[in-house]
């Protein structure tokens, strides 16, 4: 887990076809093209175009109800768990449309992990929580599982805190620790992209800082999309920022640009706290 680790080979596998965004040489993990999403009659996402670059942190900001979570859940198709959902347009994950019939949703979700707003460990031991993903993907060997668990817990910067209590129920941990267990659980499936939906909103400042630092470390190996209500957080940890409003992407740019020199008046109003 040293920062100098070369990119995993899975990531270098495909770099071709998609043209990277003008201002970055990095290939894209996701490219959203004309995505529309309806909950019954509610038009929650309107013609979204958004690239997500590899090994970067992309922040999604916007007022409550603007479709941030919906967009994030569209990326791993969790949004389809709502029965009334209808989707048009494409989301390309490394060149293939995730909504294609031939694209298996289980496969997508092992490449694209998710960390939720509220820490949601299983009522199982810490070990079993982290080993959950590898186990469902067929890893049975005790030794391998142990190695994965340790690696993931280290990756989530919580190994030292829990290494002597792996057999305890995950609910015996604090909220901040639980959230990092959930991050470790997500790392254990060795994803390519990690989606985080307000991962620190239920945490105290200190745990928040830990998770923020962690996100910085993680982007060396993973591509991260993070939804946040916290402007400072977006400014601190992200490379790109997308501003959502009423289901549309109003502005997408390098985080520095968005926060120092936004081109849309509404973005400026939002980040300066005039609404939302």
């Amino acid at each position: 887990m040293t920062p100098a680790t070369p990119k995993p080979e899975t990531i270098t596998r495909k770099q071709s076809i998609i043209q990277p965004e003008p201002d970055t040489g990095k290939p894209l993990v996701f490219n959203t093209k004309g995505l529309n999403l309806y909950y019954g009659k509610t038009h929650a996402l309107k013609d979204i175009h958004l690239p997500i670059a590899e090994n970067e942190v992309t922040a999604i900001i916007g007022p409550s109800g603007c479709g941030k979570s919906t967009y994030l859940k569209a990326l791993n198709r969790m949004v389809e768990m709502v029965e009334s959902v209808k989707i048009t347009g494409e989301v390309l994950y490394r060149d293939s449309n995730i909504f294609d019939r031939s694209f298996k949703v289980e496969e997508l979700r092992t490449r694209v992990g998710m960390v939720f707003q509220k820490p949601n460990p299983f009522p199982k031991t810490i070990f079993d929580n982290v080993a959950y993903g590898p186990r469902i993907h067929g890893i049975r060997d005790k030794k391998t599982l142990k190695q994965i668990v340790e690696k993931s817990l280290r990756g989530a910067a919580i190994w030292d805190e829990v290494k002597d209590r792996l057999d305890e129920n995950a609910y015996s941990l604090s909220g901040g620790q639980q959230q990092r267990i959930c991050i470790a659980r997500c790392l254990a499936i060795e994803p390519d992209v990690i989606l985080m939906d307000e991962p620190t909103s239920a945490l105290d400042p200190k745990s928040t800082m830990k998770v923020e630092e962690l996100v910085q470390d993680l982007k060396e190996k993973y591509s991260i999309v993070i939804v946040t209500h916290n402007m400072q957080q977006a400014a601190r940890i992200s490379d790109k920022t997308a501003f959502f409003l009423n289901g549309e992407v109003v502005e997408y740019d390098a985080t520095d640009t968005i926060f120092s020199n936004p081109s849309d008046k509404r973005t400026e109003d939002y980040i300066s706290g005039r609404f939302g």
């Binding site: 969790m78 949601n120 009522p123």
Partner: protein, 294 residues
Amino acid sequence: MEYIDIDRVKKRMDKRLFINKMVKGIFFASAMFGLVVLAILLYRVIADSIGWISMDFLTGLLSTSAERAGIRGAIIGTLWLMAIVGPVTMILGVGTAIYLEEYAKKGKIHSIIQTNIANLAGVPSIVFGILGLTIFVRLFGLGASVIAGGLTMSLLVLPIVVVAAQEAIRSVPSHLREASYGMGATKWQTIKNVILPASIAGILTGVILALSRAIGETAPLVVIGIPALLIPVPTNVTDNFTALPMQIYYWTLDAVLVAEYANLAAATIVVLLIVLFILNSAAILIRNKFSKRY
């Protein structure tokens, strides 16, 4: 401008407090009524059974002479019945509940099935007896056997298990499902590894409550022709059998002929009550022991 006149409030106070007390009295009396009736019932039964419950009574075979009669056959018959009802309702009931909660689309058909299950729970047990007689005893030619009785009883208590299991499954927080699906787990893996472990306590409680209903039911057994007077003890599922409530029914009916039969019936009721008490305690223990926080 004051809306509340303190003098009038004071004047009304006594009346309000009196009504308050009276209402409490009414509710207390309602609660006591049930308890008193139950106490009288228990007292009569236990008084009648005193001196009749012994090891010989529990392990002895049925006999026409009251002094030598035992309920071994009925106890073993009841156990056989439970051995069918338990697994059958567990598998069918939990399967139905999982289908309805996790697989079925929540549309019109779903709500029709749902309403029907709720209604089935209220269908008189004798109707299930007729169903069992038609299908299992006659159509399948199973006769008044353990398997026919067990399947009939299973149908009768199935709605209880389905509803209890559905509630248990529904109470598993959706963020646990999301966590599992979010890691690429299939539906079945999520059910097996997350949903069932988190809801097993509620499911087991439902199954036990269903068993305690089945253990005391008499009408369906009467309808499908379970004999009350049966000396041999069943040894497999195709044997004829009798059960504790049938025994009680028979002895109570014939108490006009032999007075001591009333005591035998009372003694059997006490045995049945003890079994019920044990089952219900188990249900409560399981519920407390497994009740988890999420």
